[in-house]
Symmetry: C2
Subunit: 138 residues, 2 copies
């Protein structure tokens, strides 16, 4: 039987930064930022959010669950697209207010809702004469 994870509240700064217990710091909306990268290449695929339930389900199932801020709903990534993210590793940052997921992607290997393999498909190209910041495709 899988033991349900208990997400302890943050303690003292020393424990948060140097302790070996996950004490995630959720923001005022009850969310934590999650950066998701392709496990093998480290390519940054997307940035999303989790609430406690999404994080617990991710820990329990080994698949990435997020909280959709636009739809206000728990969201199993890939449930409809097949682009399920199998979690190879979860890391946490120094102040435990951000998670890093290293994943393998199922289905056609895509990630972004626009149909692209990753969300960061444009780069800053330069500043026009009128100050507009131009982008170009990656």
């Amino acid at each position: 039987m899988t033991i349900s994870p208990k997400l302890s509240p943050p303690g003292q700064q020393q424990d948060v930064e140097n302790g070996l217990v996950l004490t995630p710091k959720f923001d005022a909306s009850g969310l934590i930022t999650v950066v998701t990268v392709e496990a093998e290449t480290n390519t940054v695929l997307m940035v999303a959010h989790m609430n406690t339930e999404a994080l617990a389900k991710t820990l329990e199932t080994g698949r990435a669950w997020y909280w959709s801020r636009s739809r206000k709903a728990l969201w199993l990534k890939g449930e409809t697209s097949g682009q399920v993210q199998t979690v190879k590793e979860i890391r946490v940052d120094c102040d435990q207010d951000c998670l890093l997921l290293r994943v393998e992607i199922g289905g056609d290997g895509g990630c972004c809702h626009t149909g692209r393999p990753q969300c960061f498909y444009r780069r800053v190209d330069g500043v026009s004469d009128d100050g507009t910041v131009r982008l170009s495709w990656v």
Copy 2:
């Protein structure tokens, strides 16, 4: 003379997602999330925030400026530590509410305020019998 960047407000979804003008979406606190990776290896170094001024200074100087939420101050990364981040590329995600900085690090090559080379120095190791989520060093 360098032209000061003009950060246009977001337009229609189609322009935000498929346009070639940077129209960053700042949150209610006037901040945008920034993921910073090591340019050569894609290693995720840190996650931080920028306000309009930090983003404009980053675009103008080619060095990473952030907004420190704890200190409530503009912050040239590496100003005291020497760990200055030279920006090789700035990417933006589909809905333009997150930036990805690809940087080269100066000084001793470190990044995290705890002295470690990157902020994600712990991984989730497993769930204890009492439900506590254990971490281990990366």
